[in-house]
Structures are given as structure tokens and as C-alpha cells.
């Protein structure tokens, strides 16, 4: 394939193939930012891939203003179906936010379509729940041992979210690849409406569809494994020693594209010596997902 | 011999007085027919007159009656009659003021049954006492006096508990608290409320207005159909606000707002009627003539034979209505 080169970094003429998802958002507040983040980290833990976690989730941003004026963060959750999203939302808020010291939980997404938040959790209060409606907004107050857990009745649902945006970072060393991926993930995480669901925003176990084992629907992306380069038809150039992927879920195609654009720019700016030699993207030949993010379109 | 009627304070014939009353009412923009301390015939005739002249009906004791009624129609209640109380009540709680007259002793219950009579005095503490009492009965752990605990226990263990109040002397919120407590008690036992009726045959007049107009007091007909509005058709308020120009008053004495408008007074013979433009002296229902009245002792309408055949309010009201040229 003809290569594009920017600042010495080779850019594949490829595209990230992404899928429609359902998504919702929450604002979690607490007495301190530490405790708001603590609740958010708990509820977005084990939420890397819908393959086994049910939902992909992450912290979108810290909030400048929150409904109760306390420090807070916005969390986004993505799933393949509304029902699964509702179930995960209820379980995760119930187990990780309701339980977290001093927390409160509010809608983090507008929209006419709604998911139950407090409406699903209120029964925990065993009849002592207090409904409070002011204007268009409706909250539940649940007595708990450190005071009250305040939880908005519902939050918005979007059906135009996108999951599976990605960048493949191919570097000459393990250290340089990781450092570049960290820098890219850090920059990308600041894009509003997009999250990077994997640990630290980075995934090392990129996968392909299918497996030699019948039970496995996905397996290791052997063409990108540096330790298999002699044994298989490798996609790796000779100068590549390590590959890391950054996966992006966004509330809209634009959010995913913007995150990828920021990631690309970060990697390119570091140049091939400090950073990675080549940037690619994962796809399935364009047959599975309707969103195609071509890397060449995302270059500045 | 005393005059049968007065015109501007001077003795006049009854016919002249009726003609004058009809003229006043016929020319009125917003006539009041108030007081209404009269029997059922009088009430029905007053309603007919009010329809004919587009007038407003109010009763001198309506405020208390409406307090009871508002509890019934806004919250609901479980009540009983004086008959059941006298025959079966084994625990009577008298709430607030104005209940002292209720005969709680005779007739006596069967010897096997004892009747306890308890009291919650009126005053500023009453609403709080009632709230605490109900809370205690609901099993709340609140600090309360031994007397309240005793009342709670008596009501809880009674076979036929009755709580008696007089709306004329009791705040509406207190009545609602009492009725809520009675409702609570009926989950496990039996307990009833007994609202004591107001003076001036209020309960009877309220009933008659109900079947005649489909509404309770206070009612107005100025727009061609019955309208029910307890605030707008409050006679004293209308008088103070200068909204009525003529009043026909039926009662023992003229109201204190009589000077505010032209008064047509239907009063017991010999009552001072200073300030009334037209006064017609009538008999006392059930005393000076036969009458159907609400009987506090039974809680129902009853027929009372009078000692004579004095002029009734109904006869005067019907004559005025006829003088207006409206078929009744």
C-alpha cells in the first residue's frame, strides 16, 4: 500500500472500522474530587470491552459545574443494546456509586430517550426514598449511613454513539511505543464525548475475528505479534518491535474522529525516533461496521 | 297588639311588607338570602326565591358546616349518628369546645358494658394533642402525657369508640386529624366520628340545598344556574366588600353587618329590627308552627308539631316569590 509519511512517521492508508452503539452519561459528585473519581473508577472498572464486560465505560472529564456544586466527573458508558446498557448502568451505579462515600449521581446526557437511574435504585431505600421534582428535573433521595444518596431519576440515552474507533501504534522499541501511547491516550482522553475504555486507555492484546477454537469468537491478532513474525504472514515491518492499540468510544462519530485526530497528531509530533515508526488502524474489511475512520482524512 | 310587619321601622301590613320586599329584591343587582335559620320548608322556599331573583344563599353557621364538609369531601370520613352512640358507644372522646351538651350518659348501656367518657380540652394545645394521640395510636415512639396514653389505650381497646367534636368550635385541620385517626383505628377495630351539627338547623338547610341544588352551601344563582363557592358567597364577606345591595335575613336577630345594605328581616315576633327596611315577624319553626328540622338527638330530619299556626318563613318567602311574578 502506498504510504503517507508525516514527520517521518509512516501512516497506513487504512481505516478504523467502528460500530453503532448505545451510550449514556452520568455525573458523579462527592465531597472531594478524589471521592468522585473513586466512585467513577469503581463503576468503570472491568468495562473494557462489551465482549465480556457488558459495557465499555470510562471517565470522560472532570466537571466545571455540577448540579450540587461539588466536585464531580462525567462518566460515559457504551453498550450494544439498550437493555444491556440499562442493566449495566443499574448494577454499576448501585454497586459502585451508591456505595461510595458522599456520592451523588446525576444525568450526564441530554435526550428525550431515557434510562432509569434513581428510578431503578430507589427501592434500596425500603420505602424511605424521597422523590423530589423541581421544574423538569426529578431526583430520588435515599437515606444511607453517611447521609443521603441523591440520584437523578433518569439519564439520557443516545443511539448514535460509536464504538471501536482505534489507532495501532507500531514502534521500534517497547519503551518508546508505550511512552508514545501514554502521551496519545492522555491527549485523547481530554476530547469531550469520547473515552478510552482499556487500562490506561491502551490495549496490547489487539484481536482478530475468529479462532481455531470453536468457542472463541476473537483471538490474538497474530499478524501484529512481534514474537510470531517469522512464523506467520506478519503485518510488521522489520523495524517494528512492539505494537499497542488505543480504542475509542464516542457519543458521536465526530467525537471518535476528533479523538483519533488528536492521537495521530500527538504521535506524529513526537517523530519516529522518540515515538513510533508507523500508525495503522484496525478494520474488518469494511464489512462489519458502518463507520470508517480513514487515517488520511484525520491528518492535520 | 304587636305589629305583624314593619316598613322603615313603622308598623305595616304583612301584604305591604311582602310587596316591599319583592320590590327590593326585584330591583337588586346582587341579593343575599342569608341567615337561613329556618326549617326545611323555609329552606326550600328560600332556594326557590334565590333561583327567582338570582340570589346568593348563605347560612349563619355555614362556616362550621363547611369545615366539617371540607374534611369529608377532601379527605373522607367514617361517622355515626347520635343513636348509635347512645345505644352502643363504650368509649367516647369529646374533643375541644362546644361538645359539653352532648348527652353521654342516658340512656345507660347494658350493665355488662361500661362507657368511658374522655376529654381532650380545646385551646392552643389541641391540634398538637390530637397529632400526638394519632401518632401514639400509629405506634410512634413519641413523648406524650399519661392522659394521652390513656386515651389512646381506651380507643384502641374500645368495641365501639366514638369521637365527638363541634365544627363551630374546632379548626378544620383538627377535624381532619380526628377523622384520619378514626380511619387508622378502623384497620383493626371500630371507631366513628360524630360531628355535632351547627345551630339554626344548619344541617337540615345543608341537606335541602344539597337535594335542591346538587351542591352544599354556599350557593349563588346570579348566572342562571347554581354555583357553589364558599368564599365568594360568604354573606359577611360580601357585606364587608360591598358586593350585595339587598339582603333577606332569616334568623333570631339581625347580623352585625345589617347596616351595609337594605335589609329584609324575617324575625321572631318582638325581635328588635332597627335598621331593617322591611321586617316581617314570623313564628319559630317547631315551636310556633309545625316544622321539619334536623334533630341533633337523632342526626336526622324530624317533624315537630308547633303549639300554634304562626306565620312560617316558607309562607313569607313563597309569597315574596309569587309577588315577583315568578312561578314557584
Amino acid at each position: 500500500m502506498p504510504e503517507l509519511i508525516r514527520n517521518g512517521v509512516r501512516i497506513d492508508d487504512s481505516f478504523a472500522e467502528a460500530f453503532d452503539m448505545r451510550a449514556t452519561g452520568l455525573i458523579i459528585t462527592a465531597d472531594t474530587l478524589h471521592w468522585a473519581r473513586q466512585a467513577a473508577l469503581s463503576m468503570t472498572g472491568f468495562a473494557t470491552s462489551i465482549i465480556a464486560c457488558g459495557v465499555e465505560a470510562g471517565i470522560d472529564a472532570e466537571c466545571d459545574t455540577t448540579p450540587d456544586g461539588r466536585p464531580g466527573v462525567r462518566v460515559l458508558l457504551f453498550a450494544g443494546s439498550t437493555a444491556e446498557l440499562q442493566k449495566q448502568l443499574q448494577n454499576r451505579v448501585g454497586q459502585c456509586v451508591l456505595t461510595s462515600a458522599g456520592s451523588a449521581c446525576y444525568a450526564g446526557l441530554e435526550g428525550a430517550e431515557r434510562l432509569k437511574l434513581g428510578d431503578a435504585l430507589r427501592y434500596f431505600a425500603d420505602g424511605w426514598q424521597i422523590s423530589k421534582r423541581v421544574g423538569e428535573r426529578h431526583f430520588w433521595r435515599l437515606p444511607v449511613m453517611d447521609g443521603e444518596f441523591i440520584c437523578e431519576g433518569t439519564t439520557g440515552l443516545t443511539k448514535s454513539a460509536v464504538g471501536g474507533g482505534n489507532l495501532l501504534l507500531l514502534g521500534a522499541s517497547r519503551e518508546a511505543t508505550l511512552a508514545t501511547a501514554e502521551a496519545a491516550a492522555h491527549a485523547m482522553a481530554r476530547v469531550p464525548g469520547a473515552i478510552l475504555p482499556f487500562p490506561g486507555g491502551i490495549v496490547r492484546s489487539g484481536s482478530k475475528v475468529g479462532s481455531k477454537y470453536k468457542a472463541m469468537i476473537a483471538s490474538t491478532n497474530h499478524a501484529y505479534c512481534p514474537t510470531l513474525r517469522g512464523a506467520v504472514a506478519s503485518a510488521l515491518d522489520p523495524d517494528i518491535a512492539s505494537v499497542l492499540e488505543i480504542v475509542i468510544d464516542g457519543l458521536s462519530p465526530e467525537a471518535v474522529a476528533e479523538a483519533m485526530r488528536v492521537g495521530l497528531a500527538t504521535c506524529i509530533a513526537r517523530g519516529p525516533e522518540q515515538g513510533v515508526r508507523r500508525i495503522g488502524a484496525g478494520n474488518y474489511g469494511g464489512k462489519l461496521g458502518r463507520h470508517h475512520f480513514h487515517l488520511k482524512d484525520l491528518l492535520a | 297588639m304587636t305589629a305583624e310587619a314593619l316598613l322603615a321601622g313603622q308598623p305595616a301590613s304583612r301584604a305591604a311588607a311582602i310587596a316591599a320586599a319583592a320590590a327590593l329584591l326585584g330591583a337588586s343587582a346582587n341579593p343575599l338570602i342569608a341567615g337561613l335559620a329556618t326549617d326545611i320548608d323555609g329552606a326550600e322556599a328560600a332556594i326557590g326565591l334565590a333561583r327567582a331573583v338570582g340570589g346568593v344563599l348563605d347560612h349563619t353557621a355555614a362556616a362550621g358546616g363547611l369545615r366539617d364538609l371540607d374534611v369529608m369531601r377532601q379527605a373522607g370520613w367514617i361517622t355515626t349518628t347520635p343513636l348509635l352512640v347512645r345505644a352502643r358507644a363504650d368509649c367516647i372522646l369529646l374533643v375541644g369546645d362546644g361538645v359539653g351538651d352532648f348527652p353521654t350518659t342516658p340512656p345507660t348501656l347494658a350493665p355488662a358494658q361500661a362507657r368511658r367518657v374522655l376529654r381532650l380540652p380545646g385551646g392552643a394545645a389541641l391540634p398538637h394533642s390530637l397529632a400526638l394521640l394519632r401518632a401514639l395510636l400509629a405506634g410512634r415512639k413519641l413523648a406524650a402525657s399519661a392522659a394521652l396514653h390513656e386515651i389512646a389505650e381506651a380507643l384502641r381497646t374500645a368495641q365501639c369508640g366514638v369521637v365527638i367534636w363541634s365544627a363551630a368550635h374546632t379548626d378544620g385541620l383538627c377535624i381532619e386529624m380526628v377523622c384520619g385517626m378514626i380511619d387508622d383505628l378502623n384497620r383493626a377495630t371500630r371507631c366513628f366520628g360524630l360531628p355535632l351539627p351547627g345551630p339554626g338547623n344548619l344541617a337540615g338547610v345543608m341537606q335541602a340545598i344539597g337535594w335542591q341544588c346538587g351542591f352544599p352551601l354556599r350557593v349563588g344563582f346570579a348566572r342562571g344556574h347554581a354555583e357553589h363557592d364558599p368564599w365568594r358567597f360568604d354573606a359577611a364577606r360580601m357585606a364587608a366588600a360591598g358586593e350585595a345591595d339587598v339582603a333577606l335575613w332569616i334568623g333570631a336577630a339581625l347580623p352585625d353587618w345589617a347596616a351595609k345594605m337594605s335589609m329584609i328581616a324575617l324575625l321572631p315576633a318582638g325581635t328588635p329590627a332597627e335598621g331593617a327596611e322591611v321586617t316581617i315577624f314570623i313564628g319559630r319553626p317547631g315551636v310556633d308552627h309545625d316544622a321539619v328540622l334536623h334533630e341533633p338527638a337523632t342526626g336526622a330530619l324530624g317533624f315537630r308539631r308547633g303549639q300554634g299556626d304562626a306565620l312560617s318563613a316558607a309562607a313569607v318567602l313563597t309569597a315574596i316569590t309569587q309577588a315577583l311574578g315568578v312561578p314557584c
Binding site: 431526583f139 | 369531601r73 397529632a131 365568594r232 358586593e243
Partner: protein, 268 residues
Amino acid sequence: MSALCLTLREAPAQRLDLSMLLPERLAALSPAEIERLPVQTTRRAMRLGDVFRLRPGDAKEVVIEGGSARFDCVGACMSGGVLRVIGAVGQRAGCEMLGGHLLIEGDAGPFAAAGLRDGVVEIAGDAGDYLGGTLPGERTGMAGGSVRVRGSAGARAGDRLRRGLIIVEGDAGADPGSRMLAGTLMICGSASGLAGYLMRRGTLVIGQFAKPGETFQPCGLDPVFPRLLRRLIAPYSADAAAMLDAPLSRFMGDLAGLGKGEMLIAQS
């Protein structure tokens, strides 16, 4: 196009039923038809044109210039648009309103916003008894929307309030929040009598109140809710928002009944 305007000719000699002066209703009528609308409540016939001078305009906004405590049912059952009264009104202003914006630039009589379902009622002066309360015979009071009174309210404000927000920036008369079913009633000034008596649910916030009855028990307050409420009501009333900045005591009641209501009293 400017608002449809009605200017009071002289103080009316009788109470008037102005329930027909609704933006959506007047929009469908010609000026002549509007002037012919009957407004009398007594035997003396009276048409709108007898009481007001009409200046035609876009009836999405109706302005009544000049008020009277005899103007009854202004904005009753209104469902949209703006209705502004420059002056006082009588009883039942905005009662059973379904939507729209009713502005009273003067005092209101009893039963203002009683049975309100939705929409906004603002009263610049004082309100009478049963503000946002229950109409005679009705089971429930106000069930939605918002009410702001810049002055004081009479007795039984928020009686049987079921949903929605009532803010009284001045004082309340006797027994505010009686029989509240839910909703939020805020009194920035003082209250008297049996506040919250028979309250089932809901939030009653009072600036100054000596002490609730024994069937209201101090139950502790989580500071988060006042902070949330403060921000939610700030668009309606700065005074009410400021009240929530003060330390608050929280009581639950009325424990004579369901007892799931709360009374927040600002500590002075």
C-alpha cells in the same frame, strides 16, 4: 405586533369573572367579539367592553392595565401564552392552569394558583389564603408548575400541594404546607400556626419558625440536598436560593400520619 391590551375604564361595581381572558381563547376572537364577552357575576349584565378599553394586538400576550380585587379567575385554566395584569386580582388567579405564564403585578386574592397543573405564576404583591392550595371539594392542591410570590402569603399556603414549587419571598400566614402530599414549598420569611400539619410527603422550607409540633422530629440533614435545591431554584428566586445557604435544621413529619415530609428551618 404588540400585545393585546385591555385598559380598565373604572373600578368595577361587581365581582367579574375574567376566566375567558386567555391568550389562546382571545386569539380566536375578533375585537368586537372580545368586547361582547360576558363578565358579570351578578344579575347586572356586564360585558368586557364595559369594563375595559381594548387595544387589539397579538393575543399571544394579553396585558390587563389596571387591576381590582374583584377580578376573579384571571388566567384560570390557561394553557399557554403570557397574561400580565398590571394591578391586583381577586380570587382564583391562575387556578387549574395548564401552562403559560401569568404575571400579577399587584396583590392576588385567595386560591391563587390553586390546583395549578403546569406553567408559571408570578405575583409581585401579596397572595391571599390557599396560595397553590385546594379548591373547595377538590382532593388535591397544586400538582405542577411553579409559583413565586414576592410579597407575603395568607393562611394555608401550599395546602395539599402535590407537586411543583411554591416560593413565598415574604412571610406566610397560618398553617403553611398543611396536608402537603409532596412538592416543595419555600417561605423565605416567617411562618405561623400549624406549619406542615398532616403533611404526608414533600419539602417545606421556612426562613423563620419558632418550633414545629411534637409530631415533627429532628432527623438530621445531609448537606448535599440543600446545595442541589439551591441551584435548582436559583432561576426562580434569588431570595429563596440565599435562604438555603444558611444552616438548616431538618424535621420529619407529620408523624401523626405517613410522616415522610420534611421541614427545613433556617437557623437564625
